[in-house]
C-alpha cells in the first residue's frame, strides 16, 4: 500500500488549461502616478512618560528617560535613550521579614537603530518599527538588608535566622546588553508623536557585587535568572524638521 502511495497521489493530479487570451491592444495604457509625497526629516526629541508615572505610583521606583532619534533614510532611524533609574527590589520571605532588600541606582544609555516596517499612506509619517539597541549602564547597588535562608520547606525554620541590616553599597557596577524592540509611533499633532514600544533584552556582561548579584540594572530593568529582561517605553516626542524629502 505504502509502496504505491506516491502513485495513488498522482491519480488526483489534474491540469487546467485556458485557451483564450486577452488581446494586448485592448488595454488602455495607464499613466504612472508622478506625485511624490514628502515627509519631514529631522531630529525627534522627547521623553518617556511612563517613568514619571511609575515614579509617582510606586515608592520604590524613580526614573527619567530622554529619547531621541534621527532619520537617516526613508525607513531608517538612528535612535538613542539616556536615563536615570533607582529601584528597590524586595524579595519577601514573610510579610514582616525580607529575604533580600536591595537598591540599584544609576544612569544608562541605549544606542541603536529603528527600522520602520509600515508603508505610510500619502504624506503620513507613522511607524510600526523594529529596533536594535546596545545598552550600557553605570550604577551602584546597596544591599539594604537580608535574612539568611535557614528554613526548610516542610517544617519551616527550627532555629531563628540571622537578620542583617548592614547596608553595604557596591559602587561602579556596570552592565552591557543587547535589546530588540518592537513598537509603534503615531503623529497625533503636527510633528508631535506618541509612541509605545516593547523590548526584550539580553545581558552581555554585568559586574556583580562581591558575594551578591546585580538584581536590577538601570535601563535594563529586572535581571532574570537567565540574564534576560523586558522593558516598555511610552514616549511623547517632538520632531524638529531639518528638511523635507
Amino acid at each position: 500500500m505504502y509502496k504505491y502511495f506516491i502513485s495513488i497521489c498522482l491519480l488526483f493530479v489534474f491540469a487546467e488549461n485556458f485557451s483564450q487570451e486577452q488581446k494586448k491592444d485592448n488595454i488602455i495604457p495607464q499613466e504612472k502616478d508622478t506625485v511624490v509625497y514628502k515627509t519631514n526629516y529631522g531630529l525627534r526629541l522627547g521623553m518617556d512618560i511612563s517613568r514619571p508615572i511609575f515614579s509617582s505610583l510606586y515608592s520604590n521606583y524613580n526614573g527619567l528617560e530622554i529619547v531621541a532619534d534621527y532619520r537617516i533614510k526613508k525607513n531608517l532611524y538612528i535612535a538613542a535613550e539616556i536615563g536615570f533609574e533607582e529601584k528597590t527590589s524586595i524579595e519577601e520571605k514573610t510579610s514582616t521579614e525580607d529575604l533580600l532588600n536591595s537598591t540599584s541606582k544609576g544612569n544608562y544609555i541605549r544606542l541603536g537603530l529603528n527600522y520602520n516596517a509600515y508603508d505610510n499612506w500619502l504624506d503620513m509619517n507613522n511607524e510600526i518599527f523594529v529596533g536594535y539597541r546596545y545598552g550600557f549602564s553605570l550604577f551602584n547597588q546597596t544591599l539594604n538588608n537580608y535574612t539568611t535562608n535557614v528554613s526548610d520547606v516542610e517544617n519551616g525554620p527550627y532555629f531563628p535566622a540571622v537578620i542583617n541590616n548592614i547596608g553595604q553599597t557596591s559602587t561602579s557596577l556596570n552592565a552591557h546588553w543587547s535589546e530588540f524592540m518592537i513598537g509603534v509611533k503615531a503623529e497625533t499633532l503636527h510633528n508631535l508623536f506618541i509612541g509605545f514600544s516593547f523590548s526584550y533584552k539580553l545581558l552581555m556582561s554585568v559586574k556583580d557585587p562581591e558575594n551578591f548579584k546585580t538584581l536590577f540594572s538601570p535601563g535594563f530593568n529586572r535581571i532574570f535568572e537567565s540574564n534576560t529582561g523586558f522593558g516598555i517605553n511610552y514616549t511623547i516626542s517632538y520632531l524638529i524638521p531639518f528638511s523635507k524629502k
Binding site: 533580600l100 516596517a117 539568611t148 535562608n149 526548610d152 518592537i182 558575594n211 538584581l215 535568572e225 537567565s226
Partner: protein, 161 residues
C-alpha cells in the same frame, strides 16, 4: 506577509524566553547535618535507633519524636557557634524508665553566601567539630571534625551505638 512573519518570530522568541525565577527550588538552602547510625559491634551495617527523639538545647519542640530511623538531617543554629542536641532512644518497649539519653555537640564558624534571588543567602558552616558525652548511649562517632558543611549528598558523621 514577510513582515508579519518577522513579527511572529520576534513575538515567539519573546514569549518562549519567559520564565519564573520567583520560586526557590533548592531545599534546604542552608545545609543540614546528616547523621547515619551504625551498629557498634558490626561497624559496617546501619542500625536503626528505636523510638528516637531529638531536641536542641534551649528549644521546647523536638525535631523528631519517637521515630525509628538510621539516618537523620538536623539543622544547626547559625546565630551561635555551637549547637547542642539531646538524643533519646528506647530499645525496650517504650516505657519511660528505659529511655536512654545522649548529647551530641557541634561547634563551627559561620559564613554567609549568596545563592540566588529567590533563595537568598545560605549559611556555610566551617571548621565543624563534633563531641559527645561519654556517659550517653553514643559509643563512638567518626569523623571528629570536618572542614565545611555545604552539601547534602552524603552523610557527614557516623554515630555508633
Amino acid at each position: 506577509m514577510k513582515k508579519n512573519i518577522l513579527f511572529l518570530v520576534l513575538l515567539t522568541s519573546i514569549f518562549a524566553a519567559c520564565e519564573k525565577d520567583d520560586f526557590c527550588i533548592q531545599n534546604p538552602v542552608t545545609s543540614r547535618l546528616i547523621i547515619d547510625f551504625y551498629d557498634d559491634t558490626n561497624r559496617e551495617t546501619l542500625k536503626n535507633v528505636q523510638r528516637f527523639s531529638i531536641i536542641a538545647e534551649g528549644k521546647t519542640d523536638s525535631l523528631f519524636v519517637n521515630t525509628t530511623s538510621n539516618s537523620i538531617a538536623i539543622p544547626l543554629n547559625s546565630l551561635t557557634q555551637e549547637t547542642r542536641y539531646t538524643l533519646k532512644k528506647n530499645d525496650e518497649n517504650g516505657a519511660e524508665v528505659d529511655d536512654k539519653i545522649a548529647t551530641f555537640t557541634i561547634q563551627y564558624d559561620t559564613e554567609e553566601e549568596f545563592v540566588s534571588r529567590s533563595c537568598g543567602f545560605k549559611v556555610i558552616f566551617n571548621n565543624v567539630a563534633f563531641s559527645s558525652d561519654t556517659n550517653g548511649w553514643i559509643t563512638d562517632f567518626t569523623p571528629t571534625t570536618i572542614i565545611n558543611l555545604d552539601d547534602q549528598s552524603a552523610a557527614h558523621v557516623q554515630i555508633f551505638h
